[in-house]
Each structure stands twice: as C-alpha cells, then as structure tokens.
C-alpha cells in the first residue's frame, strides 16, 4: 500500500540507534533539529495542500462577503462607466422607506412563521411513522424523500400548472364537490398566493427533515423504551417522556435549518409569481436580486443582502447559544 520506493526522508536518513548515555545535550540538539526539519516539512505540506481551498475561499467567499459590506455604502451599478461613489447610509435609509422592501421583509417572516412549526412537526410525524419496525418501511422513507431530490425549479413549474385555474387542483376539488366549485387562480390572488407557495415548499422539503429527525430518533437507546414499557407507559407517554427529551439536539438543528432555509426563499417566487400579485410574494432574496441584478443597482441589492445576512447571523448565534447551554 505504501510507496516505499520514494527516496528516504529525514527520519530514515538519520541514524536510528540511540547514542550512548552522557551525550544527552547533543542528542537533544539533534532531536530538535530533526524536529524542526520535520516541522518545516509539515508546515509546507499543510500549506500546500490547503492552498487551493484557501485561494478559492478567499476569492469566492471572503471577498464577496467584504464586498457585500463595502458595496452597501456605495451607489455601485452593475454596468456603469462611473466608478462607485460612497453614499454613507443612504441605502439603509432608503431600504426602510421602501414599501416593497418592508413588504418583502414581512412576507419572508410570514413564510418562515408558518413553515418552521408546520414543517418541523410534519417531519417529526413522518419520522416517527417510518421509524417503526415493520416490513416495507424503507420504501416509504424513499417515497417521502423523492421530492427532496427533485429540483425546486421543476417542482415550482409543476405546481404552477397544478395551481392554475383549469389545473389539477381545481379540477380535483370540482370533482369532489360534484361541480360546486368554481376554479380559483391560486397564484393570482393576493390572499392565496403565499399559502400556495407554502404548501409546495413543505411538500418539497419535509422529507429532508424527516431524515434528520429519523437519525435523531435512532440515537435514542432501545432500552429506554423497554424500561418505559415495563413500567406500563402508553405510547404517548413513551413519546413525551423518552423520545422528546432525547430529541432536543436534533430539534434545535431542525428548527434552525428550516428557519434559515425559509428566509432564503427565492426560486418558487421567481418561477411561479415573480413576486406578485402586487408584491404579495416578494421576499428578501427576491427583492435583493431584482434590485441588485435586474435593475442593476448593486449597491442597494448588497444592502438588502446584508440585512438578510444579519438576520441569518442572529439565528446562527441563537443556535450557538442554545447548543452551548446543553453542554
């Protein structure tokens, strides 16, 4: 397995035998020299092997993050003959007077407010169902996971067709109600557009969180359930007294990831509603892209991105704090 044909390195190049007693200082000196040579090699190897990652992370993560900060204080445009000019806090002041921005902030929060509890609870319910030791349960895990591997672009287009006035969902309701139903343009109405997006978002992502919950469930030792059963605990009592306390770390992770994912909402809106009707579905990221890219106001787009980033940062800090408390 080892490539022993390579030339000897510093270790085998030196006499391996221990010098006799009494030459301790010399030995120590040599040891240190050898050590420092090995260390230099280790340093060089470490740096060399990380260099591609360091360069790429610097160029495509660190610098863009710094740019998000820097550009927020300028009037930079995507394509412009003029160099960007510093404008202080103008972009931030503008944001909080921009009704579309405030609307997008609210829409994003409303989306998260519904998605977070519903999706995590449904994910847990599915996980409990498919955690049973019964035949064929793996098949159901796979079925619930299929939407997760389906592209959200595909999912959005598919559901957009299903939501249309003569689409599958209206036809279905019409059939079930024996024709009493008049089709609703789910995505075209201000009141139903966001709920419609919420339903398909849960449909697409809940399988992912089912798997996370499932791995949490499987870390709970079976003996605990046995003990509870011997004590005569009902299924519900077993859940509240054994399962739920054991799931705390998983719960924090699931809540945080769903919250952050919810704040990132973009594709569904871009494909299905373009933010409409009348900005009822405009989200932070959608607004940032519309301002920063489509209207080419990079400075303002960066400002909205930065506000979005601060929100994510707060949530991440909350997670840090919650998980620290546990230790």
């Amino acid at each position: 397995m080892l490539d022993t044909s390579t030339p000897a390195t510093e270790i085998s190049a030196r006499p391996a035998a221990k010098p006799p007693k009494g030459t301790a200082p010399a030995q120590r000196g040599r040891g240190r020299r050898r050590n420092s040579l090995a260390r230099r090699r280790e340093f060089r190897a470490g740096l060399a092997m990380s260099t591609p990652a360091i360069l790429l992370l610097t160029f495509f993560l660190v610098i863009p993050v710094l740019l998000a900060f820097g550009l927020s204080f300028t009037n930079a445009r995507l394509i412009s003959p003029n160099a960007p000019r510093l404008v202080g806090f103008d972009n931030f002041l503008r944001a909080f007077e921009d009704p579309v921005f405030l609307q997008s902030l609210w829409n994003t929060f409303a989306f998260a407010l519904v998605i977070v509890p519903v999706q995590s609870a449904l994910g847990l319910l599915l996980a409990v169902l498919v955690n049973q030791r019964i035949r064929g349960v793996f098949l159901f895990r796979v079925i619930y996971f299929i939407p997760v591997v389906t592209s959200i672009v595909v999912v959005s287009i598919l559901w957009k067709l299903m939501y249309s006035e003569d689409g599958l969902i209206n036809s279905f309701i019409n059939t079930v109600t024996f024709g009493a139903w008049n089709g609703v343009d789910w995505l075209g109405e201000q009141s139903t557009a966001m709920p419609a997006i919420i339903v398909l978002s849960i449909w697409q992502a809940v399988g992912f969180h089912m798997v996370i919950w499932l791995s949490g469930l499987q870390t709970i030792p079976g003996e605990l359930y046995e003990a509870a059963r011997v004590d005569g605990a009902s299924t519900w009592r077993q859940f509240t007294n054994v399962t739920w306390p054991g799931l705390r770390p998983t719960m924090i992770f699931v809540l945080i990831t769903i919250t952050i994912d919810a704040l990132r909402l973009f594709v569904q809106v871009d494909v299905m509603t373009q933010g409409g009707p009348i900005d009822a579905t405009t989200t932070l990221v959608y607004h940032a892209v519309r301002a920063g890219y489509r209207q080419q106001e990079v400075g303002y787009g960066a400002t909205i991105s930065l506000i979005f980033f601060v929100l994510v940062l707060i949530i991440a800090l909350v997670q840090r704090w919650l998980t620290r408390e546990k230790d």
């Binding site: 740096l47 092997m49 990652a53 791995s215």
Partner: protein, 312 residues
C-alpha cells in the same frame, strides 16, 4: 425485514394478555400502513401526474385532470411532446452543460476539499487555526447573501480568452463555464465533513508511514483516501444535488443560450408559453436522471443527509 425480530421482551405470563397485545399491535400496524400509504400518495401524485402527462397531448391533460385518468397513461399516448421540446430549444446542449458543470464541480471539490480536510485534521502548521475558523464561519453564510456582490465581483475578474487563435487577457467571467464551476469548488461544509472524518482515522498509521519514508501527500493518497470511502460518497452526494439544481447563479451570470444549464433553460422554455405536455416532457427529462441516480444509491443518499444533520 425486521418484522418479527422485535426486541426480546419480558412478557407477563398469561395467554389472554398476550393475544390481546398482539391484536392491538396488529391493529396499530394496519393503521400505520394506511397512514403511510395516504401520505405516500400525497408525495407521489404530482410526479406521477408529470410523467404521465408528458406522454399526452395538451388537450387530453386538461380533460383528464378531473378524474383518475390524470394519473394513468391512457388515451393518446406518444413521445411527441419530447420531440417538440427538442425542436424548440437546445435541450441536449443544456443537458451536456449541466452534466459537465456538475461533474467537474463535484470532482474538483472532492480533491480540493479533502486535501484541505487532510491538512486541517492531521497536520500541525501555522495558519491552520485561521483556516479552520474561516471554514466554521463560512458554514453559516448562505449563498444568497453574497450572490449579488459576487455578480459584480466576477464581472471584474481577469480571464484568458482565445480570439482568432491568440490567447488574450480580458476582464469579466460572465458567460463562461468557469463562472459556473470555480466559485463552488471549495465548499466549507465539505471541508468540515472531511476534517471530521479524517480525524477518526488513527494517527499511528501516519507515523508508521513516516518511518517507512512516506511524504505527507503519499500518506493522503495511499492511506487516508482509501480509508475514507464513506466520507467521499457523502460529500459527492451533498455537492451533486446543488450543482445539478443550480438556478439563481446561472440565471444572473449566463445569458448565452449555448452555455445555459438545464434549470435556467427550463425557465426560459417555460416563459415561451409552451404547451403543457411539452413542459411536462422537459421537466421529466431533467428529473429522471436524478431520480435514477437517487433510486440506485438511496441508502447512501439518506445516510448522507442524516450525517449532515448529526454534525451540523
């Protein structure tokens, strides 16, 4: 598979009690199957509708949608929609673009991120702590926060272009393959996973190899990589899906039709107001490859996602 091999239980004696318990358990199992199947229908019906509709003329999709026929391949079944898609847009080119971008991103990512993970988990060097903290901080930066500044940034980056047989120096990465690949090669979460996994491999292996005269890169290539199959599989799976599904980024940086990946191509196609059947054919076309990959490696997929949760 594990139907009857439940945990060994201490059961109270008494036949009545036991049969009662068994009946209860059977009833509960029945309810579980009913619930799971009902939910399964909810998860599958849109996809079945998509596959089936891709084979039907648009008029029939509409007339079928009020009945169960919407989910059955009945009536006028053909592949016409698929031919229609290929006639209207260069889908083959979109598919090639996406496969190329995905394969290169994942392959380069495995190499770059595993090397960094090796250096972070097994080597002592100055700068290690700094890199590690950058990686950990980067875990919480969603791509959407830097997308807009990054478009501005890549439009200013220097690049080399071939023009009339000459290699020229130019600015701007927009409309290229590299802009779809290079920014996504180094991936903080992959580095993190590799670092975690590598540090579970005993360090005595390195020492033994060092005594045999192996250099660090040899140790990485001959010892660590062969022992880390599961970590490579996990990272490959977790980076494959986002690369294939890329949407926001190519939407902004790729305008040239011949460089478009499938998802952006899909959105443009959708905006041409094509017939429903053709839309379904396109979505089926780009969903099927991923579904096949998923169904062949389902266990690996599911355990990769589970691993991402345990560490996160």
């Amino acid at each position: 598979m594990a139907l009857t091999t439940t945990r060994p239980e201490v059961r109270p004696a008494g036949r009545d009690h036991e049969s009662g318990e068994r009946r209860l358990r059977r009833r509960r199992k029945l309810w579980s199957y009913l619930a799971m199947s009902g939910i399964g229908v909810f998860f599958l019906f849109p996809l079945v509708f998509m596959f089936v509709s891709s084979l039907k003329p648009s008029g029939q999709i509409l007339s079928d949608s009020g009945s169960l026929n919407a989910f059955l391949p009945v009536g006028d079944i053909s592949l016409d929609n698929y031919f229609g898609v290929f006639e209207r847009v260069p889908v083959a080119q979109f598919l090639i673009n996406s496969v190329f971008v995905t394969v290169v991103t994942v392959a380069l990512g495995l190499l770059v991120n595993s090397m960094a993970g090796f250096a972070l988990s097994r080597l002592e060097w100055r700068g290690r702590g700094l890199l590690l903290s950058v990686v950990i901080a980067a875990l919480i930066v969603p791509f959407e926060t830097i997308a807009v500044p990054m478009v501005y940034w890549v439009s200013k980056l220097p690049t080399l272009v071939f023009e009339g047989g000459l290699l020229k120096y130019d600015f701007g990465w927009l409309n290229s393959y590299q802009v779809q690949i290079i920014p996504f090669v180094a991936h903080a979460f992959s580095i993190f996973l590799f670092t975690q996994y590598f540090s579970t491999i005993p360090k005595s292996l390195d020492e033994a190899a060092r005594i045999d005269g192996a250099g660090w890169f040899t140790i990485y290539r001959r010892i660590i990589v062969p022992l880390s199959g599961p970590a490579f599989a996990t990272v490959a799976i977790l980076t494959f899906l986002p690369a294939w599904n890329q949407y926001l980024w190519p939407l902004m940086v790729v305008q040239q039709e011949e460089l478009r990946p499938v998802m952006v191509g899909m959105q443009y196609f959708f905006q041409l107001n094509p017939a429903w059947g053709e839309v379904m054919a396109y979505t089926t076309l780009i969903t099927l490859p991923v579904l096949i990959v998923f169904l062949s490696f389902q266990r690996a997929f599911v355990s990769s996602v589970a691993a991402s949760g345990v560490k996160g």
